[in-house]
């Protein structure tokens, strides 16, 4: 079913192939080799568990970029009904790298938006490989302001390698587009929940990520810089991305442990693309659970909660003045 094999999946794929061969052989020849088949099945299952349950940080980054992984639009269709897509920033264009609109999560009205990747050359060109231009962030801001106006909770789905580093991005002030979103997201008095569904690439991710709850899919990552970018600067060689991924502590588990993520949404064995309905269902119930908690808060409490959440992020030491000389 998966036609795209990650480097660490080779053994699994080989075993799968062997098993298929064995099965068709037994059918063709009408031979009973069921014990062989069972043995192989057990071996395959063991291999799957030991591989997928123990992914390294770099393997998770690869998984988060898997081209068959469900994207924002897939989740919107799987978890919501009556989606009304809203378009454009009313200033320059309709950036397809960020999509969103009104929808229902069961009976709950929400504004759902997120960064969108493409699956083939055509769709990737349309959405710029999931790298938003300034227009994308301004479109997101327009949608969120509208949600705030109509008192509708905001759900943001994050899956981007980062904001687009291009000439036009700078000319139209990508830094301002992100900065304004960061500031404005602190002023919305509705609940905001972010889910990192794939790549949480730096400022481009945070630009729609100032929320009351940050949820991360099991094999998604969220980082200040891509492992390749970090390797290029600190190791002076992009091929050290694996080391950089490890050092950056960017996995869902690390983020949960350090208090930067509020919850992990478990993926099926082998990744979200193996059973996207199952992961969507888990995501939906997790969002609804957190939403229910947040909806018990007043507008003022929601603002305070969001402020205090980010206010507390950061570890440092402070020597009291009376102890220093």
């Amino acid at each position: 079913m998966s036609t795209y094999v990650l480097p660490f999946e080779k053994t699994i794929v080989e075993l799968e192939k062997k098993l298929d061969e064995l099965r068709s052989f037994s059918e063709d020849q009408d031979l009973d080799i069921s014990s062989e088949i069972t043995k192989l099945e057990t071996k395959l299952e063991k291999e799957r568990v030991s591989t997928y349950e123990n992914l390294t940080a770099w393997q998770k980054v690869q998984m988060s970029r898997h081209p068959l992984r469900p994207y924002t639009r897939d989740y919107i269709h799987k978890i919501t009904t009556k989606f009304i897509e809203i378009h454009g920033d009313r200033l320059f264009s309709d950036d397809q790298a960020i999509i969103g609109g009104f929808a229902y999560l069961d009976k709950q009205k929400v504004m759902i938006l997120g960064t969108q990747k493409g699956r083939d050359t055509k769709s990737n060109l349309e959405c710029n490989f999931g790298c938003p231009y300034p227009e994308g962030y301004r479109k997101a801001l327009r949608l969120m302001k509208m949600a705030n106006k109509f008192n509708v909770p905001i759900i943001t789905l994050i899956d981007t390698p980062g904001a687009y580093p291009g000439i036009e991005s700078e000319e139209r002030h990508i830094a301002e587009a992100i900065a304004v979103n960061l500031r404005e997201m602190f002023t919305f008095s509705v609940p905001i929940i972010s889910v990192v569904i794939g790549e949480g690439g730096s400022g481009g991710a945070l630009g729609i990520g100032v929320s009351n709850r940050i949820l991360v899919l099991e094999h998604a990552y969220y980082s200040v810089i891509s492992p390749e970018g970090c390797a290029a600067i600190l190791w002076k060689d992009r091929s050290f991305a694996e080391d950089a991924a490890e050092a950056l502590k960017l996995t869902a588990q690390h983020l949960k442990d350090s208090g930067l993520a509020d919850g992990i949404i478990k993926e099926p064995l082998g990744g979200a693309h193996r059973d996207s309905d199952a992961v969507a269902a888990k995501m939906k119930s997790s969002i609804l659970k957190h939403l229910a908690e947040l909806q018990r808060m007043s507008s003022q409490e929601l603002l305070e909660d969001r402020y205090n959440k980010f206010r507390a992020m950061g570890v440092f030491a402070e020597t009291p003045p009376d102890e220093s000389s």
Binding site: L182, V210, L250, L255, L260, E318
Partner: protein, 313 residues
Amino acid sequence: MAFFGKRILSFRNRKKDTPGGLWDSCPSCKEMLYLKEMKEAQGVCTHCSHHFSLPREDRIAMFADAGSFEEWDGDLTSVDTLKFTGTASYTDKLAENLLKTGYKDAISCGKTRVGGFDVGLGVMDFKFLGASMGAVVGEKVTRLIERSTEARMPVLLVCASGGARMYEGLFSLMQMAKTSGALARHAKAGLPYIPILTHPTTAGVMASFATLGDVIIAEPEALIGFAGPRVIKETTQQDLPDGFQRSEFLIKHGLLDMIVHRHDLKQRVVDLLNFWMPESSQRPVPVDGPMGIKQEDVVEAPTKNTPAKRRKS
């Protein structure tokens, strides 16, 4: 931290002893400069107006009314919270930069008086790990803004940054949100905020507090942008336009309010504070102190704000 180090040459570090005294050559016009002269000129080339990077104490002295700066949170120190594994240990890097600069992190903050107005002032220092923003920078900026909000003071932030503090991972990124949240409250209280963008101001700092000013001022020819020019070139495989991401490019695109020569910076800030702040909040200005400014002299915008000669690059 994408470093733009080759252009960041503090004249203090390049000084050479010669029989004639201490001198240095300007990277822009190649003229010989006497360091004493340069210091008096606040790190501006006396021949071509090239703006050198300025040590943070000089930058503070440039804005603060004589003797008015009172430092806040100078003891905040970065922690290797990720136990970063890599080519160099974060702890070693921090120690090395403490030794090099005499400071514990990349920003100094405090309360000061500017033209008689109490102001929350922050000064970033490129020499400390490329003025990258980690938890200490984020916390100090946030405390500066929060306390200024409480005391109803304007905030003035001299920005510089070469990139993220990668050693702190996602904690580093989140400082962008934290500082922006504090600015939302400062703005809601109706208080003015002026970021001053110096060479270079990029990345997370640029995509947060450096860009959220009521009025944004830049020094001439500063490199200002989100992504570094090298990254943009590599990603797009395009040649970058002439003067791309320099102050003059940004103002042409409507992304800045003004480019102000360093010698006129304080005056321009005082002009704005005079306009924004109630007269009752202004205290007498010591006219004899260094850079003291007489209020009655504040009439017109200075005329000396033409950008310096374009550098050959």
